[in-house]
């Protein structure tokens, strides 16, 4: 049985605890990196990570991109939406099609 985890600064993620998701508050990029590695090796199917935390450890996240599990998904944190999540979707379109033909005008 898999679980869902949320990584990010405490203020952005504490609400998810009530839903039954495991929350992992981190303060520094190193902490986030360690936590991500630990969670990805464990029984976690989905790992949500705040865009702010993800921005610091992009290389680590890219490593898991080609694996079926876990799915690492960026979500906006309390500090606001940086657009990194949408950017990620656009990037996959670029990778697949060659250029962003779907969301270029947005």
């Amino acid at each position: 049985m898999y679980k869902i985890a949320v990584i990010g600064d405490y203020d952005s993620i504490y609400g998810f605890a009530t839903l039954g998701l495991s929350i992992c508050p981190v303060k520094t990029p190193e902490e986030a990196r360690d936590k991500l590695r630990q969670l990805a090796g464990g029984k976690y199917g989905i790992i949500y990570i705040t865009e702010a935390a993800a921005a610091e450890i992009k290389d680590e996240i890219a490593e898991y991109q080609e694996q079926t599990m876990p799915a690492i998904i960026q979500i906006p944190g309390v500090s606001g939406n940086t657009g990194a999540g949408v950017e990620g979707v656009k990037k996959t379109v670029e990778q697949a099609v060659g250029s962003d033909i779907l969301f270029a005008e947005e």
Partner: protein
């Protein structure tokens, strides 16, 4: 002539002809695979974008609610209220196969069936804003799970499409033309050899006739 050295033998010719047939068949299959992957991918990525926008808007408003809730209570009280969650979510992972790309599917089960179990605190000492905040977050959870499914599938499919496209191009522009030039080279070389053998034989016959009977065709 091809860049690589090929032996102009019949055996090589047969091998290359077989290779060409396989390459053409592989090319056709891969092209079909790419097209179908692309079709499914485009549908999926549109949904992905839609769900992502919905989730981001949902999280934004939930965060706002939490800030308001936090303003109405002390930090310690809030932490205590959320310290021991009642609800727990278990993911039942599955795998779907889309054109030989394994994409994960997630089904989730909550530990208790009662949806009110998301409130892990007594209502007496917490602000009512907190209830709303928790509820708003709970409402977007199904979308968040769907987003994880979609986004992961999109990433995996995009990688597969890229790989397939490279293979199609390599076959179309390198392997097939190369094999064809090699085949042409060998056929021409063999024809040439045959012609020269023919001429040699004719010459030898002439010489033998002349020697035996003093007879010349000319």
């Amino acid at each position: 002539m091809a860049a690589t050295q090929v032996n102009p033998t019949r055996m090589e010719l047969t091998r290359l002809k077989k290779k060409r047939i396989t390459a053409i068949r592989g090319h056709k299959l891969l092209k079909d695979k790419r097209d179908e992957l692309m079709r499914q991918y485009l549908d999926l990525v549109r949904e992905n974008m839609e769900v992502r926008k919905r989730v981001e808007a949902g999280i934004l408003s939930a965060n706002k609610n939490f800030v308001i809730a936090k303003a109405g209570m002390s930090e310690a009280a809030l932490k205590t209220a959320l310290m021991a969650p009642k609800q727990e979510i278990n993911l039942v992972p599955g795998e779907a196969n889309v054109m030989s790309v394994n994409i994960p599917t997630f089904e989730y089960k909550t530990r208790t069936a009662d949806e009110n179990d998301i409130y892990s605190y007594g209502f007496a000492f917490t602000s009512s804003d907190l209830d709303g905040a928790v509820k708003s977050l709970a409402d977007i959870l199904p979308d968040m799970i769907r987003l994880a499914e979609c986004e992961k599938a999109c990433q995996l499919m995009a990688a597969e499409i890229e790989k397939t496209r490279r293979r199609v191009n390599a076959l179309e522009h390198v392997i097939i033309p190369e094999t064809e030039t090699n085949i042409k080279y060998i056929t021409m070389k063999l024809d040439e050899n045959e012609r020269s053998t023919q001429i040699r034989l004719m010459k030898v016959k002439d010489m033998m006739l002349e020697e035996a009977h003093g007879y010349s065709e000319k």
